[in-house]
Amino acid sequence: METPPDRQLVTRLLKEWGGGNKAALDELMPIVYQQLHKLASICLVGERPNHTLRATDLLHEAYLRLVDADVDWQDRVHFFAVSARLLRRILVDHARAQHRQKRGGGVETISLDESVMIGPQTASEIVALDEALQRLAAHDRRKSEIIELLSFGGLTYDETAAALEISPATVDRELRMAKAWLRRELTRESAEGSAPA
């Protein structure tokens, strides 16, 4: 049973990092690892008994990008909200690279940072979800943010509520319509057989 992170410690580290102390990020890193590892290890238990879940590579990429990020860190939940956004970008970048390679064919040399790591089906789903979320955000930013935190961020409902400074009841309510809207969009898109760009 994992120990929940020490909130005071995390808050202090985030403030220090926000204040320009890069070393604080090194201390935060294990916490980011834990968060994203949790994301990668939820469900699918038993489906791939021999599959080793290595969140390391994904997290390292997130870490590298985070080091250069210039954001105002307020507390732990805001940190993970940013992680969710980052993770979404990382996954979408990889998913789009998969599509580019597929279309390119031929002997085009691609750098290893574009090496295909996501299968075509999952890549399509990621791109479709990302694009649907962008469309949702145009109508209703908060609903889109809730979905981003829950799906890409792997945050709990309570953490999502805290990150957005709303009540869990509001999260539930917003989520209900957001999900219905997204299901409709994603169902429609796959019915039309559209290939995401």
Binding site: M117, G119, A138
Partner: protein, 108 residues
């Protein structure tokens, strides 16, 4: 960060969606008759959302989990580039996995 305000139409759709959910399914058609009157588009919007109402979260989580797992299935990354960085060597391995030493590729 500037955000576009939600449109009147969106707010209306949302209001009707939640109002309809408060009612028994049998009562919803009549409610929508009265609420939407001659706005067939509005009715279609709300009805299609009601049709999609469900407890399921799987469709949102699964692609992300699958993608994360597929990306992290790589066994060894030393020597590879990720974005602007070149991964040089493994620094160590702890409970959380491997930590790599990396440098910006343009510095090498």
């Amino acid at each position: 960060m500037a955000t576009s305000p939600r449109s009147d139409r969106w707010v209306r759709i949302e209001h009707l969606f939640y109002a309809a959910l408060e009612l028994e399914p049998d009562s919803r058609p009549l409610f929508l008759d009265q609420a939407c009157r001659d706005d067939a588009e509005l009715r279609k919007e709300v009805e299609s959302l009601l049709q999609m109402d469900s407890q399921t979260m799987g469709f949102l989580r699964k692609p992300v989990l699958d993608a994360a797992q597929q990306i992290t299935a790589k066994e060894e990354l030393s020597g590879k580039r990720i974005g602007a960085y070149q991964l040089l060597r493994v620094l160590g391995e702890g409970g959380m996995g491997k930590v790599y030493l990396a440098a910006r590729a343009d510095d090498l």
